[in-house]
Symmetry: C2
C-alpha cells in the first residue's frame, strides 16, 4: 500500500503520475473505511481527495503554508503529513482530531472548527511574511458553504489588496451544508460554473483577483496543472474549483446534506448505523414536531437557519413551510439581525442554532437585537457539557456570552413540558428577546402540562422545599441536584432543590428568604463556573450569613472529553458534592 509509505509530503513528490492516482484511490479507500467505523465529516473529505494530493505534490508544506477553512476537510491532508496511521490502522483512529491541530503536526497551523476564517488567517500570514522578510506560498482552501460567512468576505477583501503572493482556492461543491443554498454569492458561483468561469460580471475579478476556473475539480491531472501554473505567483490569485461533494461514494453524492457529517456509516446500505436503530426520544425530536405544528397554525412564525437546517426540520418539512422557512447559509450575524427586524416588523421569528455558532453573533445579539428589545426567539442547541465536545465547538460558555446582555431572557428548561410552555410563551409574547437552552440529554417528560406564566420574569421553581441546604440545578443539572438531595436525605438532611429556569436574572425574593432556613447553598451548572449563573447567586448572597459553593467547569478549552469524566474532574460527581456539603455543614 503506497499510503502506508507516506511519512511526509516529500514522499508524495517522489511518486509518478500513475502512482499519484493510486494514492488518491488508497486515500479515498482509507477514508471510507475509517468513516464506516468512526464517522466524521464525510462528504467534505471525499470531495477533496484529489485536490489534497495535488496540493501536496505541487507545493512544499510547511515551507508553503496550507490553511484549511473550518479544517473539517483536512483528513487527507493529515494522511499525507505523517499521520496516515490514524486512517489506516483502526487502533490509531483516535490519535488525531477531526480538525487541523498544531499539536499534531508542523503542517497544521490552527486549531479551528468554525467556518469562514481561513482567509483572515491567511491575510495575517501574508502580512507577517512581508514584515519578517520570509517567503513561501500562502494558500487558503475555502468553500463547502464557508464563503457565505461575512468574515470570509473581509478576508477576501484584505488579501485582494496585498500586492503579493496569495492563493485562494474556492472549493465550490454547490453546497452550504444543505444543498441549493440561498443567497447572491451562490448566484454568482453558479453563473460562473455555468459559463465555465467566463461570466461577464465576476465577483472575484471585481475585488482584484487574478481568477482561474477549473470545472473538473476531481481530476488529479488538471488540478496539478492548475496549481503548477500559479505556484510562486507574485499576486493574489483565486482558483475557483468545482468539486463533487462525497465524490467516490454514491450515497454521499446522492444526498449531500445527510452525508455532510455523521456516522459511523453502513457503507453497503448507504445509511448511518444509527438510522437503523431506534433511539430514545430527544428534545430535538420534540421541538421538530412542536414547531412544525405551531407554524401550521400561525403564519406569522418564520424559522431562520444559518446553514444548519437539519437542527430543526427535515428537507420535506422545509419545502412544505415554503417562504416561512429561510436558510441564509452560514451567516449567523445575518440570521440574528434578520430575526430582530422581523420581530420589529411584527412577524414571529424563531432561530434554532448550535450554541457554539451563536457565539459568533455576540454583537448582533447585543446591538441589533437586545438593545432594541425585539421579541425574537432563539433555540440554543448543544449548550453545556453534553453538547459538542471538541475544543473548537464547545457549548460551555453560553451563559457567559448570552446571559449578561441586557434585555435578553435566557431560559433553561428541564423537561418537555417546560420546554413547550417556554417556547409557546417566547414565540407569542412581544416584550423581550428570548433564548431557550434546548437540553442535549434524553427527553424527560413529567406528563403534566406546565402552566407557569413565564412573563413573570426570574421566578425560580422550588422543586422541593427543605431546609439547611439549598441546591440550584441549572437546566440539565437539575437531575443531579435531585440526586444530591436524595443522598443527603439518607443522612437525614432535607435539602431544598431549586430549578432556576431563568439564567438572565435572579429570584430576589427567593434569595432574600433562603438564609433564614438554610446554612449552605450550592449551585450546579454544566458550563464554566467563572462568569456563570452560580456566581450571580454567590454575589447576591455575599453579605448574608450563609455559605455558597458554586459548581461548574474550569475555564479551559476542554477537548474531546467524556462528559461524566469532566464533571467528576470538576468535583461534580454526586458523591463529591454530597461530601462537600456535609463538610460545609460541619464547619
Amino acid at each position: 500500500m503506497l499510503l502506508e509509505q507516506i511519512q511526509s509530503p516529500a514522499d508524495v513528490k517522489k511518486l509518478s503520475r500513475a502512482e499519484l492516482q493510486t494514492l488518491v484511490d488508497e486515500c479515498r479507500q482509507a477514508l471510507l473505511q475509517k468513516l464506516e467505523a468512526h464517522g466524521g465529516h464525510n462528504g467534505p473529505n471525499l470531495g477533496v481527495v484529489e485536490m489534497t494530493v495535488a496540493l501536496h505534490y505541487v507545493f512544499d508544506s510547511p515551507r508553503d503554508n496550507l490553511i484549511w477553512d473550518v479544517s473539517h476537510q483536512s483528513y487527507v491532508h493529515k494522511m499525507l503529513t505523517g499521520r496516515q496511521q490514524a486512517f489506516t490502522d483502526p487502533a490509531h483512529y483516535d490519535d488525531v482530531s477531526g480538525y487541523t491541530n498544531p499539536h499534531e503536526s508542523e503542517h497544521d497551523y490552527f486549531s479551528i472548527g468554525h467556518t469562514s476564517t481561513s482567509l483572515s488567517l491567511a491575510s495575517g500570514f501574508i502580512k507577517a511574511r512581508e514584515v519578517l522578510h520570509k517567503s513561501g506560498n500562502i494558500i487558503a482552501v475555502i468553500g463547502d458553504g464557508s464563503l457565505s460567512g461575512g468574515m470570509a468576505y473581509e478576508g477576501l477583501n484584505t488579501i485582494a489588496d496585498e500586492n503579493q503572493n496569495a492563493i485562494v482556492i474556492v472549493n465550490d461543491n454547490e453546497n452550504s451544508i444543505a444543498p441549493n443554498p440561498h443567497g447572491g454569492l451562490y448566484t454568482a458561483l453558479r453563473t460562473l460554473r455555468e459559463s465555465n468561469g467566463q461570466a461577464s460580471d465576476n465577483l472575484f475579478k471585481a475585488l482584484g483577483y487574478e481568477y482561474h476556473y477549473l470545472e473538473a475539480g476531481n481530476d488529479l491531472e488538471q488540478l496539478i496543472d492548475l496549481f503548477e501554473t500559479v505556484k510562486d505567483t507574485d499576486r493574489p490569485v483565486l482558483l475557483h474549483v468545482h468539486t463533487e461533494k462525497g465524490h467516490g461514494y454514491e450515497p454521499a453524492v446522492a444526498n449531500h446534506e445527510k452525508f455532510h457529517a455523521g456516522g459511523p456509516i453502513d457503507l453497503k446500505a448507504g445509511l448511518y448505523y444509527a438510522d437503523e436503530q431506534p433511539h430514545a426520544a430527544t428534545y430535538s425530536d420534540f421541538m421538530q414536531k412542536y414547531l412544525f405544528d405551531k407554524m401550521q397554525a400561525d403564519e406569522a412564525i418564520v424559522t431562520v437557519s444559518s446553514g444548519t437546517p437539519q437542527i430543526i426540520f427535515t428537507p420535506a418539512q422545509r419545502q412544505q413551510l415554503g417562504s416561512h422557512f429561510i436558510d441564509v447559509g452560514i451567516a449567523e450575524e445575518e440570521a440574528v439581525a434578520m430575526t430582530s427586524a422581523m420581530a420589529k416588523y411584527g412577524a414571529k421569528p424563531v432561530y434554532p442554532v448550535f450554541a457554539t455558532f451563536l457565539q459568533r453573533t455576540f454583537d448582533q445579539v447585543a446591538h441589533d437585537l437586545a438593545l432594541n428589545n425585539n421579541p425574537a426567539t432563539f433555540l440554543v442547541y448543544l449548550a453545556g457539557v453534553y453538547g459538542m465536545n471538541d475544543e473548537s465547538h464547545l457549548g460551555l460558555f453560553d451563559v457567559q456570552f448570552l446571559s449578561h446582555i441586557p434585555n435578553m431572557v435566557y431560559l433553561a428548561p428541564t423537561n418537555q413540558e417546560e420546554l413547550q410552555a417556554m417556547s409557546d410563551w417566547a414565540i407569542d409574547q412581544t416584550d423581550h428577546p428570548v433564548a431557550i437552552r434546548v437540553p442535549a440529554t434524553e427527553l424527560i417528560s413529567t406528563g403534566v402540562a406546565d402552566d407557569t406564566d413565564y412573563s413573570q420574569l426570574n421566578r425560580n421553581q422550588v422543586v422541593h422545599q427543605g431546609s439547611q441546604v439549598a441546591i440550584f440545578g441549572v437546566g440539565e443539572m437539575l437531575t443531579r441536584a435531585q440526586a444530591v438531595a436524595a443522598e443527603l436525605a439518607k443522612a437525614g438532611i432535607d435539602a431544598t432543590v431549586i430549578n432556576p429556569r431563568y439564567l438572565t436574572g435572579l429570584d430576589e425574593a427567593l434569595l432574600a428568604d433562603l438564609p433564614t432556613k438554610h446554612q449552605v447553598v450550592v449551585t450546579l451548572e454544566d458550563g464554566f463556573v467563572e462568569g456563570g449563573y452560580g456566581q450571580m447567586v454567590a454575589s447576591a448572597l455575599g453579605t448574608a450569613d450563609v455559605k455558597v459553593k458554586n459548581y461548574g467547569l474550569t475555564k479551559e478549552f476542554h477537548d474531546r472529553y467524556d462528559a461524566e469524566g469532566l464533571l467528576t474532574q470538576n468535583g461534580m460527581a454526586v458523591e463529591q458534592i454530597v461530601n462537600d456539603i456535609k463538610e460545609l455543614m460541619n464547619n
Copy 2:
C-alpha cells in the same frame, strides 16, 4: 424658514423643486450651526443632505421603510420627520440622540450605532413584509465605510436572492472613516466610479442586483429622478451613489478623517474648539508615542486597525510606518483573526480598538485567537463608565465578553508606568493573547518605573496592607478604592486596598489569606456587576467567613449618562460605599 414648517415628510412632498433646494440649504445650515455648538458626525451628515431630502420627497415614510446603516448620518432624516426643533433651536439640541431611535419617532426602527447591519435588518423587514402580506418599499442606506464589514455582505447576499422589492443605496463617499481605504471592495467601488458604473466586472450585478450608478450624488434633481425610477420596483436594486463627505463645508471636504466625527467646531477657523485649547495628558497620548517609538525599534511589530486608525496614530505616523501599519477598514473580525495568524507566524501584532467594537469579535477572540493561544496584543480603548456613553456604544461589558474566554489575559493598568510595563510584556512575550484596558480618564503617573514580572499571572498588587476591610479597585476604580480607604481611615479603620491588575483570573493565595485579617471585602468596578470581576471574588470567598459586597453597574443599556451620576445611582459614590462598609462591619 421652510425647515421650521416641516412637521413630517408629508410637508416635504408639498414643496416645489425650487423650494426643495432651499430646504436642502436650510438643512445644511442648521446642521452646521448645531455642529458648531454641539459636534457630532459631521462629514457623514453633510454628505447626505440632498439624498435625505430626495428620499423623503420620493418615498412615503413610514409606509416605506428607510433603514440607515449605523444611523450616524440620520440628522437630516430627523429634521424631516418631526424633529426639526432639535436642530433649529439650541435649547432643544439634546432632545434627540445621535442615531435613529424608535423612542423618538415612528420613522426610526432601530437604536443602532455599529456599522454594516442595515442590510441584514432590511432583509428581516423584507421577509416579514412577505409573510405578513404587507407592502411598501424597503430601503437601506449603507456606505461611509460600512460596506467593508462582513455582515454587510451577508445582508447583501440575502437580499439579492429575494425576488421582491428591495432598494439598497450604497452611499459611496470614498472613505472608510479614514480616506484611501484598503481592500478589494474599495478597488471594486473605485473601478465602478471611474467607469461611471460601466466596469466590466460588477460586484453587485454578480450577486444578482439590478444596478444603477449616480455620479452626482449631491445633486438633488438627479437623486429625485433616480429614486423615482426605482420606487415600487419588484426586485432587488442597488443604487451606487457617489457623494462627497462633508459636502458644503470646505474644511470637512478637505479633511475627511478629521471631520468624520467630533466637535464642537470653530466653523470659521475650520478646527475643533478643542484643538485650540491645551488638554490634560491622556493615556491615549502616552500610547501614541510609546507604541510609535517601540515600533521604530522592532520591525516585527505590526499595528492593525479596523477603520479607526486615529485611536493610535496620526496620518503622518501611519505613512511613516509603511507596511507595519495596516487599516483593514471596518472589519473587526478580519483584524482579530489576522492578528492571531501574524502572531503564529512570528510577528508581534498590536490591535488598538474601542471596547464597543471589540465585542463584534467574540468568536474570533475565542476561536481564532484564544483557542490557539497566540500572543497578539489588544489595546482596548473606552471600556468602562468613562468611555462612550451612548446606549449603542457602551463599554460597560468588556469584562463579561473578554475575561471569561480561556487563555486570554486581560490587564487593567491604573497608571502610566503600569500601562507601559504591561504593554512591553504583552508585545514581547510569546505565551498568551493579552488585552490591555487603556484607561479613559486623565493620565496618572507615579514617576516610578513598574518592574513587575507580568508573566507571573494573576498576582494582585496590594497597594496598602490594612485589616478589617479589603477593597478591590479594578482599573480606574482604584482611585475610588483609595478614596474610600481614606474616609475609613478617618473613622479609625485601616482598610487594605488591592489593585487586581488581572481581570482574567484571581490571586488565589491573596484570597485565601484575606479572611484571616478581614471581615468585609468589597469590589469596585465600572462595568456591569453581573458577570464581572467582583462576582469571581464573591464566588471564591463564598464559603469563607467574610462578607463580600460587589459594586458595579446594573445590567442595562444606560443611555447618554453622566458617569458620576450613574456611579452614584449605583451606590458607588465614595460616601455611599463608606456607609455601606460601616454598616456591614456592625452586622
